[in-house]
Symmetry: C2
Subunit: 431 residues, 2 copies
Amino acid sequence: MYDRLKGFRDFYPEEMGSRRQVFDAMEDTAARYGFREIGTPTLERTQMYVDKSGEEIVDELYAFTDKGGRDVTLTPELTPTVARMVVAKQQALSKPIKWVSTRPFWRYEQVQQGRFREFYQTNVDIFGSSEPEADAEILAFAADTLFDLGLSADDFEFRVSHRDILSGLLDAFDADVNSRDAIRAVDKRAKIEDAEYLGLLQDAGLSASQAQQFDDLITAGNLDAIADFGDEDLADAVDNLRNVLDAAEDFGAGDVTTLSLTTARGLDYYTGVVFECFDTTGEVSRAVFGGGRYDDLIEDFGGQPTPAVGVALGDATLQLLLQRADAWPDEELRTDYYVLQVGDTRETAARVARDLREEGNVVESDVAGRSFGAQMNYADGINAKTVVIVGEQDLANGEVTVKDMESGDQTTVPVDEFPGDLDAPTYEDFE
Amino acid sequence: MYDRLKGFRDFYPEEMGSRRQVFDAMEDTAARYGFREIGTPTLERTQMYVDKSGEEIVDELYAFTDKGGRDVTLTPELTPTVARMVVAKQQALSKPIKWVSTRPFWRYEQVQQGRFREFYQTNVDIFGSSEPEADAEILAFAADTLFDLGLSADDFEFRVSHRDILSGLLDAFDADVNSRDAIRAVDKRAKIEDAEYLGLLQDAGLSASQAQQFDDLITAGNLDAIADFGDEDLADAVDNLRNVLDAAEDFGAGDVTTLSLTTARGLDYYTGVVFECFDTTGEVSRAVFGGGRYDDLIEDFGGQPTPAVGVALGDATLQLLLQRADAWPDEELRTDYYVLQVGDTRETAARVARDLREEGNVVESDVAGRSFGAQMNYADGINAKTVVIVGEQDLANGEVTVKDMESGDQTTVPVDEFPGDLDAPTYEDFE
């Protein structure tokens, strides 16, 4: 007997059915917004990640050397891959490019609640627009997805921030600040003690009083005061954030977006608006998912300058939020019909099953030579709504029996009239 | 600029759209038969494949040692994984177990037409029934899938064979035959010269005349003659094959199944009925896909004896068949509406787009601040059926313009009546 690898998951049908409903909701919402599905490879060259994040990233990757001597990696995220794909066809692709995909990713990290070594993400990105409407469409897509999954505006909030505001504020201080380190400190703010956080800001180059003043500014979130604090670039960043929030309002996501300059996102490649989705009850304590603008990445990958904005919804934290809100789909099998076949009636039973399937119904029938009772138990186990009994006796009379599994009521129906013109005949149609 | 790895594929939206339609057809057909989707990990322990196929298999795998020192492999096929999953929950799972999944697999092999290092398969399996109806349901599912994809019974055939007939025939000769080697020779029969093939049979232990007689028997395919040639086990195997073909007839796959004892399937774990799908025109020269019965594998994996039968449909060869038969879905984007927004009309345009999306339509709108002409070009590029123009002038009159993109006809509509109660309003609704 073999064991499953730690941090990897097997999904059996009941759980997978719920996951599929969630994935479908994300994919369907994305499709309605005109995001187009792409398919992407599982392996990329390791160099792509090293160039972007440094040699130390390899420790967190499933990186290895293939039989042909290539250094390759199981993709830990989609963004570098889609950047590569945009660059590869940048002349042929008409802008804006709007892509979506759902697939697994891999990171070699500590396994804990809501964090696995193999995890799934739905990635949604827009390339080729620096307009606030693009950021807002990403927010609106994410909000609509959660609404479609049964959540309300009371269940979640998008905390919206802006990298250029954070860096513009930092630049406005009379100090030699490492913005990257300071923004990483902001990203850790909610997870560490105040003293440690302020210490990290000081490590990044601010004085103690500057660190406190910076934190006061981003905590208060007074955009007018912030715009006045720095130069024109900072004022432009404030304008951009306001425009994104306005567009998000027009696009129907206004009720769930909230200004939160203490939100920073961990990844270095973000440039403009960034946001994170949180459980309003706080029961799911960390960010459910996040996204933002990354206008420099395509150029860094050797392409023409191409602004970009996107979001990635991960399976594990999204499940935690949906379960908290009682919106996780029921983990149970759904079956429209079980065609119960006893005696020498296989040809007719098969015909009935085929007719019902042709109308799109989920139909099982016996493939294991089981008894009447065993078939009835099985039909119950798969939650069959209706059982159609095709027995020798009935069939001799030109009839089948239609049984409603919830009530237990049953009636006989002429076999020639079943299913007849009905797409999904039930006991009620014949009682 | 980074390059894609050899044997791996990027799928851009047009091609991916076609692939999605094909995957959906397979998944939908499987769902109607009551196959339940499972989710499976990308990595398994390398030992699982070595135990099954020997140390030499590792050369064909993406096998490596992870950061924790585990020898792991990118799964080259699904069967060992589902066998592991059945064994892990064998007490809890009610039989028959009917599973389906679609996902990528990986083999380090030579790249050629229709063969990639990363390829996709839809796997469909039934565990827990040794009855001929289970084999027949696999055949019927596969046939219905191809019918749903637009193929007819003239386009393809399932060549059905039986491992126990081949081995039973071999045992009936007065010779010390290595059945595994002989069956592998049969599997190569169509790809090599007669002399080489007969030589391989002799290497397996048959004399020259026995090899010829064996080949004559499986080529003629006279089941009565074969049943008479060996012992009771051989006669039972012939009966089983006949019963499967009879059940396949009842299940609607009779027109596409044909007896073909020269079909053997390469994999060692098959035990009973095996089959391969072929292009009837021969234009696709190798097997499109195949499947069969593997009754011993679950026990080999440490589980209770559990009969099993399944089929795996691969993306690349299936695409070749569909393209040959002119049934590959059009590789083009589909868009129901483009909401063209010019001037200070964003709020109304966004409302219109949202209303149309709520009815399930695919709706794009401007997120890039483009001109009227640029938006119209874009709408054309994404094959928008209808363009809804929300302009300042029209809107001042309380109207929007609805334009049919095929005819170029357009008309104005009161903005309050659009989309109104219509799910998918078009120019014709208002002309």
